[in-house]
């Protein structure tokens, strides 16, 4: 008995010791982890761009996964409907018609609603929607956005199959498809019209596939997230789900990713020299000298946009082209003209001034991006240029007191200065802008200011007047930085500064975006473009403004007239020289796409005006009128297709899911802000450690 009790005692003691040792180890492990957490979550760090933060936290939770400390929030992710996309592109000369078929398949046993966010080119004129269910085809109608959404919701709750295509931004659309039967699919076909891009004698067409690496489908959390709806409009279907929040569909392993296939027929209208796909492997079939058929070889959605580029043989690309259409008693014309290259002369010397925002709000990722952008800018300087860098937060500083020549030494000094920059303090933009706009004795032919900031300012109007009153011969180019810059301010600042606005969303994009900025900065410009034509035609400043033209770009005009005159005179100014050309409007090819493209451009200009004006109801109505007349999706109009017969029994619930592609990085705001602190976690683990400390102390003492 004695030995038994002794054994029991030893065993107890041993297990107690083991317990204590384990708890100490766990405690140490947790506290070191916590230090990591605390380190990453101090306010200054919290504004690191979402990507970095996301990755860190994800990495952190990977470590934790076995430890039960962090409860995974991913319980709610379920298998989403898949979307397979087939893209069919017909290119005729300078016009392209693109047909995008999205097949929503529902692999679950419930009725589903799929909402798919997808990018399209900014100039896409979306004018056609058809929904295919089994053998039946339902053609979509254009409606005002609010009305279309209401009808969609009604059809959805009545159990009818319906689809809705809406424009979220000029380059971002959503298609919603309601009541996909269990284990069935619905195909919707969206069609749009687009112009082919032309630059320096090369033609290209882009189809966006923007899925950036951070959301590659098939990773632990596919790009889709199950979304529970608290639908506030009183349609009962979704509201029920709130009460059943705990009974949500159990998690399933994500299935294969969304797939995209692309096939293209290219009828260039001239002898083709070379046809290439810039980023994707394609198969190429030569039909004749002017025609090719192209197909994407692998159908996996890729991280890069699809770009097809082609050139004319012997560089005999057309210098001018004309397409015409007569519709509803109106003449429409699309005119393309490349100003001759002889206009190109030696690029002028210039003064380049960088302004960089080093206020506290730039801390973290934004500051890194700004530094990278500056470094890139320095590499673009030519020996005849002069430059300066101005920084500001609550005060202003600069690397040189005046702009200096871009010599090796000066550039090295600037590089050191950039390394030294830190983000801290307030945002006082005015003194920096004034300093940059001050014109010094030495006169350069061209004075360009590149302004890098997240634009967190409140006194916008005061800044606009500074720019307007001091601009002189300078041009202001704004570069927005960070995950949610104040693009409204920067766009307007660039307009007052007669430059352009650019946006850098992540560190990866810096060189790409800065390159396009510097291409713009170094091209000579054709300004003051004017048109003269007899007869009545619509091309006043109200609907369309002819923008400045950088050399190598074609001039593209869309015209609407009751009847077109025989010829049109186009003139412009290049520096001090004037340039003029007369074009005949008598000949030209017929095309059904012309009126649509005219309408799309009208909407674009009207939208600019809409954003500028405060009292904009009338402009909105104009946009709706143009969009409805030409069957176009816009900010205020959507395409809607509704099947007449209900298919979903009313007692079956409808599940709703968002299938999100990563929105393009140049959007106003590409993610929700980060809105959690580590307070609760710290308190919890602090308490835990406090308890273990007390227990240990008690054991020892």
């Amino acid at each position: 008995m004695k030995t038994l009790r002794g054994d029991l005692g030893t065993t107890l003691l041993q297990s107690l010791l083991r317990c204590t040792a384990t708890s100490v180890y766990i405690g140490l492990a947790i506290s070191s982890l916590l230090m990591v957490v605390v380190f990453f979550s101090t306010p200054a760090q919290a504004e690191i761009s979402e990507i970095e933060l996301g990755e860190r936290v994800r990495a952190l939770s990977d470590i934790e996964s076995g430890q039960l400390v962090f409860k995974s929030a991913d319980d709610h992710y379920v298998l989403s409907p898949r979307v397979n996309t087939d893209v069919d592109i017909q290119i005729t000369g300078l016009l392209a018609r693109i047909k995008v078929s999205q097949t929503f398949s529902n692999p679950t046993a419930q009725w589903q609603e799929g909402i798919y966010v997808f990018p399209l080119p900014e100039t896409a004129a979306v004018d056609h929607l058809t929904m295919r269910v089994g053998e039946r085809i339902i053609v979509g109608e254009i409606k005002e956005k609010v009305a279309a959404r209401k009808e969609y919701q009604q059809a959805k709750s009545a159990g009818k199959q319906t689809s809705l295509v809406e424009q979220q931004r000029p380059n971002m659309f959503t298609s919603s498809v309601a009541n996909i039967a269990p284990h069935d699919d619905i195909t919707i076909v969206i069609e749009y019209q687009q112009r082919v891009n032309q630059k320096q004698g090369e033609f290209n067409l882009r189809y966006p596939l923007a899925i950036t690496p951070r959301y590659i489908p098939g990773k632990a959390l596919s790009p889709s997230a199950e979304i529970r709806h608290f639908d506030g409009h009183g349609w009962a279907v979704n509201t029920d789900q709130v009460e059943d929040a705990s009974q949500l569909t159990p998690p399933l392993t994500p299935s294969s990713s969304n797939k995209t296939s692309i096939s293209i027929t290219l009828a260039a209208g001239f002898n083709l020299q070379e046809v290439t796909s810039l980023y994707h492997q394609v198969s190429l079939l030569e039909i004749d000298d002017t025609t090719r058929e192209i197909e994407l070889v692998s159908d996996d959605a890729s991280a890069r946009d699809f770009v097809l580029a082609w050139q004319a043989k012997d560089l005999q690309s057309p210098q001018a082209a004309l397409f015409k259409q007569r519709k509803n008693g109106q003449d429409y014309a699309l005119l393309m003209l490349t100003p001759p290259k002889t206009l190109e002369k030696e690029t002028m010397s210039r003064e380049l001034v960088f302004i960089v925002d080093t206020s506290g709000s730039m801390d973290g990722g934004s500051m890194e991006q700004a530094k990278k952008a500056l470094q890139y800018g320095l590499t673009q300087l030519r020996p005849q240029d002069s430059f300066n860098i101005i920084r500001f937060s609550h005060d202003v500083g600069s690397v040189f007191s005046d702009a200096r020549r871009a010599t090796r030494t000066n550039i090295d000094i600037a590089h050191d200065y950039i390394d030294w920059l830190r983000a801290d303090g307030g945002t006082e933009m005015a003194p920096a802008l004034k300093m940059a706009l001050q014109n010094k004795a030495e006169k350069s032919e061209l004075r360009q200011i590149v302004f890098l900031t997240d634009g967190s300012v409140g006194n916008e109007d005061a800044l606009f007047s500074i720019i307007e009153n001091n601009l002189g011969n300078s041009r202001l180019f704004t570069v927005g930085i960070g995950s949610a810059p104040n693009s409204h301010f920067m766009r307007r600042a660039a307009r007052f500064g007669r430059g352009s606005h650019h946006y850098i969303g992540s560190t990866d994009e810096v060189s790409h975006k800065m390159k396009s900025l510097f291409n713009t900065l170094s091209s000579p410009v054709l300004t003051d473009i004017k048109l003269k034509m007899d007869g009545r035609y619509e091309l006043d400043s109200r609907t369309q403004r002819v923008a400045d033209l950088y050399i190598g770009e074609p001039l593209l005009l869309t015209l609407k007239a009751e009847s077109l005159a025989d010829e049109i005179i186009i003139s412009g100014r290049f520096g001090s020289e004037t340039w003029q050309q007369t074009m005949s409007l008598k000949s030209g090819a017929e095309s059904q796409a012309v009126s649509v493209l005219w309408a799309r451009r009208s909407i674009e200009t009207l939208m600019d005006e809409y954003r500028r004006e405060t009292d904009n109801e009338a402009i909105k109505q104009d946009i709706i009128d143009v969009a409805l007349a030409h069957h176009l999706v816009s900010k205020f109009t959507s395409l809607l297709a509704v099947d007449k017969t209900p298919v979903r029994p009313q007692e079956d619930p409808l599940n709703s899911q968002v299938i999100a592609l990563n929105p393009p990085a140049n959007s106003v705001m590409n993610q929700f802000p980060q809105t959690a602190t580590s307070a609760r976690l710290q308190l919890l683990i602090g308490l835990f450690l406090l308890l273990s400390a007390l227990v240990l102390r008690w054991k020892q003492g």
Binding site: A46, A73, V117, V146, G458, P485, P673, L683
Partner: protein, 198 residues
Amino acid sequence: MRVIPIVLLIIAIGLLANGSYIHVKAQLAQWLISHAWLQSTDGNSQIKPWPWADTWPVAKLSVADHDIEQYVLAGVSGESLAFGPGYVFSSARPTERGNTIIAAHRDTHFTFLQEIQRGQIIKVQTREGRSRDYVVEELRIVDKTDVSWLEDSSALHQLTLVTCYPFYSLELGGRLRYVVRAVSLPQYQAESPVKLPA
């Protein structure tokens, strides 16, 4: 071995202090901001709540049903969110036409969002003294990439409050956001079939 409990104790105190500091800072800052607010409603410049702040109050948010009165700061950087709800610069200005977006931390200023109900009224006041009542119309949980919620449907006076979801999660970089959408009072009465609370 005697050192371990002491080390643990120190770490524990550190964590507890830091954890509570986040909450204390959130409360204290609002108090300081209320002073800056009172000053700035007199004049019209941006008064910073403390000299080195990189943000300033832009609006006052009140929800009578939950006894909430908070000052909204400019921007949604980590710096401003630590002190108060943040106004998203790219969204419509408070009380003006369009979609005004305000975000805050789920565990400090916007904890009350979990209790907010449809039909309740959120009041927004600007420094200039303009004010607008918004009625909560929709409560949703969305993925953080579903930015259609941040869209500006300029026809309406809209207010969108955003915070992280789930409310009691310990995770920091979660994918889900809780979105409260409210519309201006007359519009709500005109368009919504739901009756207002008396």
